[in-house]
């Protein structure tokens, strides 16, 4: 509960403060949240149990309760959110918009909503937080966005709202036609009996909402434009955390419906995910704008995570969850790097950049670590996650597994191309504009690199956090009785 209230409180405080005080307050708030999260994790028994935070009657006549609870999976997502927020604030520290109390307030509001999404145990509460997260990011992208921002951000908003309204219809179908004894409570919904034709429509509603959020091929058309047009902080929020809402939603809210719907649906979605991997990768290779390149690579990586979730195996889910954390870290890192370059060189075009490594070797090393993490080189975090994901996909369907495996090769091609063009090669005359990293950038990138290596070398604590929760979840889903 405090995890939601702290950001909300500091978001409200942003109305009354100006200048650097606002930035420091916001940063302090995110650090407190992070500390709180770490305390929660160290206090968690790692036994897959669900710990109730708050559970009160809200709208009794409509069967809605205000219930927040966490298990290992939720803790992992909350950790990602609260780890990412301070870094995002640091990334925008020296930017004009980063000094605006409005931006800080919106970012903190977004943090509260995201934490709410991950902790909510009630369908409608989940939906409320889900939509609440959309409003701040819309404003962040549309106020400080680049060219064509009005059209692109409105498209983004309508696209995602379109998906989520069907999720609402799905929730209503699930509750009205299922034999849910306790309104929209998650456990009650999961254990309810629902006719399979109704379940099909409900699942479709959920799947549409989550697929648009991810985005899964062919619902991705909003993504590259929005990532490109949003300010760096907004892009980090979108790619680093917001997209995880869709993945998390698939795990928690869509998988329980699968037994009613049948496995064919899952195969279909896996195929879409794998198409997304190949499609995103191939387009990324041809990009010249670094931000667009990373946007498409993000689509490919998320496709792999989604494919892992669709296997519904312990390995697939475990890999997906750790890879969600990893992707959050590396995506934020890569957008951070791009922002650092753009701010100094005033361009993101690969063809205009060259030899930055000669000017700033420290920056080059950090960039390389992040890129290695994304390419999934052993001893980095990406390797741990992608290896398990690929194995699970291969086990469930060998053909898909092989195609999905291409992602590593493709990823190496486009990311190394990006590194080669921008960091190496003969030093460019423009490069004297490349001033040394500020302290905020240094700390931000350094932390990210630290996590890349830590998870890569010693992933066990992270796996341990979620392992029992995932197996509990799977046994719960396997025990679902399907209506004859």
């Amino acid at each position: 509960m405090e995890l939601i209230l702290i950001p909300l409180f500091f978001a409200a405080v942003q109305f009354f403060v100006k200048g650097r005080t606002a930035s420091w307050l916001a940063l302090a708030s995110t650090l407190v949240s992070l500390g709180w999260t770490i305390c929660m994790i160290s206090g968690y028994a790692m036994d897959g149990s669900t710990v109730n935070l708050v559970d009160v009657e809200w709208l009794k006549f409509a069967g809605i309760r205000f219930t927040l609870a966490y298990d290992g999976i939720a803790l992992m997502m909350v950790l990602l959110t609260n780890l990412a927020l301070p870094i995002i604030l640091l990334a925008s520290w020296d930017r004009n918009y980063g000094k605006s109390p409005l931006y800080l307030g919106l970012a903190l509001l977004m943090q509260a909503a995201l934490v709410g999404v991950f902790l909510a145990q009630d369908g409608i509460l989940f939906y409320v937080f889900w939509e609440l997260a959309l409003i701040p990011i819309y404003f962040i992208s549309a106020i400080w966005g680049g060219e064509n921002k009005n059209r692109i951000t409105l498209k983004f908003f309508i696209y995602t709202f379109f998906g989520s309204i069907f999720m609402l219809v799905g929730l209503l179908l699930w509750k009205s036609y299922g034999s849910s004894t306790n309104g929209f409570a998650w456990m009650s919904l999961v254990q309810s009996q629902i006719p399979s034709d109704i379940a099909f429509w409900a699942f479709l509603g959920f799947a549409l909402a989550f697929a648009i959020k991810l985005p899964l091929f062919p619902f991705h058309t909003w993504q590259p434009d929005t990532y490109t047009v949003a300010p760096a902080g907004g892009t980090m929020l979108l790619s680093g955390i917001m997209l995880k809402m869709g993945l998390f939603g698939f795990i928690k809210w869509a998988l329980p419906l699968v037994p009613h719907v049948g496995e064919n649906m899952m195969h279909f979605l896996s195929v879409l995910a794998v198409i997304g991997i190949v499609y995103g990768s191939i387009i990324a290779i041809k990009q010249n704008d670094m931000k667009r390149l990373v946007a498409f690579s993000s689509m490919a990586h998320v496709g792999l995570i989604a494919a892992g979730i669709f296997t519904q195996s312990l390995e697939g889910l475990q890999g997906a969850i750790i890879q969600m954390l990893n992707h959050g870290i590396t995506a934020i890192g890569l957008f951070f790097v791009i922002d650092v370059i753009e701010r100094r060189m005033e361009t993101r075009e690969l063809t205009l950049l060259s030899g930055i490594a000669k000017v700033s070797p420290v920056f080059a090393v950090m960039t390389l670590i992040l890129v290695m993490g994304s390419v999934a080189v052993p001893l980095t975090n990406g390797f741990v996650g992608e290896f398990i994901l690929l194995k699970s996909v291969f086990d469930s369907n060998a053909t898909l597994g092989v195609i999905a495996g291409l992602t590593i090769i493709f990823c190496a091609v486009y990311l190394l191309r990006m590194v080669q063009f921008s960091l190496f090669g003969p030093s460019n005359a423009q490069n004297e504009k490349f001033t040394p990293l500020t302290w905020a950038e240094g700390i931000g990138l350094g932390t990210l690199c630290f996590f890349v290596l830590w998870i890569g070398i010693n992933p066990d604590p992270f796996f341990g956090l979620t392992e029992r929760s995932v197996s509990n979840l799977l046994s719960l889903f396997n025990a679902i009785k399907v209506m004859p």
Partner: protein, 471 residues
Amino acid sequence: MIALVTVLLTAIITLFVNLVNTKWSRPVATLGLAVALGVCFYDFSNPYEDASEMLYFSHASTIFSGLTILIGLILIGTSEYSITYAGKNRGDVYALMLFSICGALILFAYSNLLMLFLGVEILSIPLYVLAGSDKDNLASNESSLKYFLQGAFATGILLFGIALVYGASGSFFIGGSKANNIINYQLYSGGGLTMFNMGVFMMMFGLAFKIAAAPFHFWSADVYEGAPDLITSFMATVVKTAGIVAITIFLLSIGFLNKQWEMTFAIMAGLSLVVGNFSALKQMSFKRTLAYSSISHAGYLMLGITINDPIIIPTLLFYLLAYSLSTLVLMIGMSWVAGHTGKHDFTAFNGLAKKHPILAGLMAVAMLSMAGLPPLSGFFGKYFIFAEVFNQGALSKDGGFWWLVLVAAINSVISIYYYFRIIIAMFFSPAISEEEVPAMPRINLFVLGLMCLGLLIAPLFATQLYGLMFY
């Protein structure tokens, strides 16, 4: 009941105060409405039924009265600048608004079809005048004439419907307390079911006209656009509330006959949603857009009426509360901006957030609520209606009107497009208007802030609200 008398007396006093000193008319009218709002609390604990069973002030009707009086209070209280067009006659405008509110209060409490007719007339006749109260403005005159001609026609049909219902049933009474109420019509005439249904159909025609539901919506865009801003906000909120409640009371009272009207209402609801939304997409004027959006909101409300169960009364109340508050915030904001730029176009709002961030922020909150984004009241209003439709659908064999919810859901996505145009204009577009919009008076801004706060926290108290209704 006492609230009704209070409003009536306030209207008369305002008329005379205006003769003495125009400046006092607004404080007097505001004070009278505030007293009436207080009296509503007394009325709530003392339900009143008059001896001849013409009016019955139940808990529900008192709450609706309170809502309407609150809307009037906000509108009149903040009208210091939006009323200036009326010059020395502003007291008359206030008095007419108060008379119109009296009509609305009668519509919340009628238990006799004659009172329904009287209520509709008392509600409408002042509005015909009010729509044209900006005498020097041609658009206002046009709006008044259009409203009067079409409104009189609709009223005539309503009256004909009442006559047919009377012919079939031999009674004007609705509700169960009298033995000779209209649902016992078989006792009085040998099965004039066709006549009865024809009568109900004509009554629905007349009442659907009042709430501007498609296909009886053609008057609304021109009338809303031409009327002065103050009156447009009044029509969009009070008249819609009164009309919807009047329809609901009548349909619930004929109970079992309601079944065959469900499909009619479902089609009207779907039509209103689609027509309202698609017409709003291409408008240049913000005021006109709001007019079309109010048609689509009538669609959501009609969707609620298809539920055919008393549970819809609190659901409708919550929806109307959310809709009215957000409409008022938008209209009052629009009236302030338009009053100084002279334009109601979207472009008049360009760059408002730079100059007046608080006003723009409040209008944005109201817009988000209208568009139905959680956690604001507008979302919960829609959600409660959707949920009820699904619950009814799950109970019935044929699934009820789930397809209509789908239509409504898709429409609420479409509505984002035009609702967000004002947000885009205010926040993301550079200012182009030469006229400087001065800062809004603090007190008005404060009232707008309170309304937005209400939009934010109302969902927390929805349970209590539902409890009050079935108290």
